[in-house]
């Protein structure tokens, strides 16, 4: 009886450590948002969002269309600056640094925070140039050999190298949809970002290409802070460790993915993920 009790506590400890790893609960926050509000002209699109996004993990944003999840994603690399009617208030920091600080160089910020879009959008250039473009303009390579290395490493990390290594001079737009999306991910990785934002990266892909991108996300998460917006609940459940649910411009619930999809706290979350929204 005594032995059983000891064994159980050991199992519980291991289990707690394992769960903490999976849920990312023990990890320090990479991106911290406090009281973020977004207005498009008179429209109040996002209200008082507070969230800590851990490093080296995947956080998924889910919610119905128009709920504000993409708007919030675009705040993290200040993509919303490009919309003239858009106004952002509140505070967002990456590694403690305020990204809305007027002294901050937005171009540098966007190099640190890469983005992958819904539709693969390779430049109408060669595969090589697609990946080399970022490192070139940011001056990350001193010579051709270094640039070659960055291109190869990025394509390898994006699980595309094997498929394109013999045709680097071919146009990026000639690849299949899934390959184009992985090329876009390689392009994002090439400038060594800290954070990668993905806005529905698989919605234009077939199931096999989706599986490849999901595998890639799973591999990248050991080195990057990844934030993904997705309309597929199953995808959010598969790829993320933490999930945030947005509805009507507010962040309703944020927590370990496992909890959100088996036993969410808020009724609105429950209704949305089970397909009950009226």
């Amino acid at each position: 009886m005594e032995n059983t009790a000891v064994d159980l506590s050991a199992i519980e400890r291991v289990e707690a450590a394992r769960t903490a790893h999976i849920t990312g609960a023990a990890k320090p926050a990479k991106v911290v948002a406090k009281g973020v509000d977004v207005y498009y002209g008179a429209k109040h699109a996002l209200m008082g969002v507070n969230v800590d996004i851990p490093d080296r993990g995947v956080m998924a944003f889910i919610g119905p269309s128009g709920c504000g999840k993409s708007t919030f994603l675009r705040c993290i690399n200040r993509m919303n600056d490009t919309i003239s009617s858009c106004r952002v208030t509140g505070n967002i920091t990456i590694d403690g640094q305020d990204i809305y600080d007027p002294a901050l160089d937005v171009v540098q910020l966007r190099a640190r925070v890469g983005m992958v879009f819904q539709k693969p959008n390779p430049f109408p250039k060669s595969i090589y140039d697609n990946v080399a473009y970022g490192p070139r303009i940011h001056g990350l390579a001193a010579n051709k050999a270094e640039l070659d290395e960055i291109v190869q490493k990025s394509l390898e990390k994006a699980a595309l190298w094997g498929e394109v290594k013999d045709r680097l001079a071919d146009s990026g737009t000639g690849l299949s949809g899934g390959q184009q999306q992985r090329l876009c991910i390689a392009r994002a990785i090439a400038v060594s970002p800290d954070v990668i934002l993905m806005d529905e990266p698989c919605s234009a892909l077939d199931p096999i290409a989706t599986a490849k991108v999901e595998t890639l996300i799973d591999e990248l998460r050991s080195n990057y802070c990844i934030i993904i917006v997705t309309h597929s609940m199953q995808q959010a459940a598969r790829v993320s460790q933490r999930t945030a649910f947005f509805h009507l411009g507010t962040l309703v619930e944020e927590g370990a993915t496992q909890t959100i999809f088996t036993n969410p706290v808020d009724q609105r979350t429950q209704d949305y993920i089970t397909g009950r929204f009226g």
Partner: protein, 238 residues
Amino acid sequence: MNEHIVKSYEEELKLLDRRIAQMGGCAEKLLIQALGALERRDPKLAESAVASDATIDQLERELQDQVITMIAKRQPMANDLRHIMTVLKIAGDLERIGDLSKNIAKRALAIAGESHPKPLMTGMRHMTEMVQSQLKDVLDSLAERDIDKALRVWRSDQEVDAMYNSLFRELLTYMMEDPRNIGLCTHFLFGAKNIERIGDHTTNIAENVHYLVLGVPITDDRPKGDKTASTLMSTPQS
């Protein structure tokens, strides 16, 4: 609770509830048949109990097929996922309850010619009635999603265990009194053990109802009453 946007999903969940309710009804009926067969040493009733068990097995297979199709088709989440998974587990418990009841009925055939000591049958009857009412309550708690009712069933299992302990001792006494009772008493002992096991499956169902409704397991320590594993009848020293 709001209804699903997809109507057919809603209907499938309702069908699942009807199926588990039907299975539960069959299991309740079977337990009553089994006790009747034992009490009256009625081979006809025993045979119909065996047939009822085949029905329960068939219902479980159908329910299982539906669950597998639903998981593939709907990819259920949150309360739907818990609903579907717990119903599947409860179906497993009901199937076991059916088997155990059938086994009691079969023993009725084996001891058909022997005379029953009346007090023994009273004990068996009392214990079975207790388990019957728990089974009924737990099935109600499932249908009504009533966790208080489920918790009451879960806590009352120790009374069944206590009954089983006392019946166990009584049977040992009969066997020591007259070795000719050993055959009959052994069948009774297995019968009583089966009823005690049915009580355990009933508490499993109560735990699943709790998880289905709240999404967390029951955390209390359940008082355990079965001490027969460590019971020995001391033989009189001469």
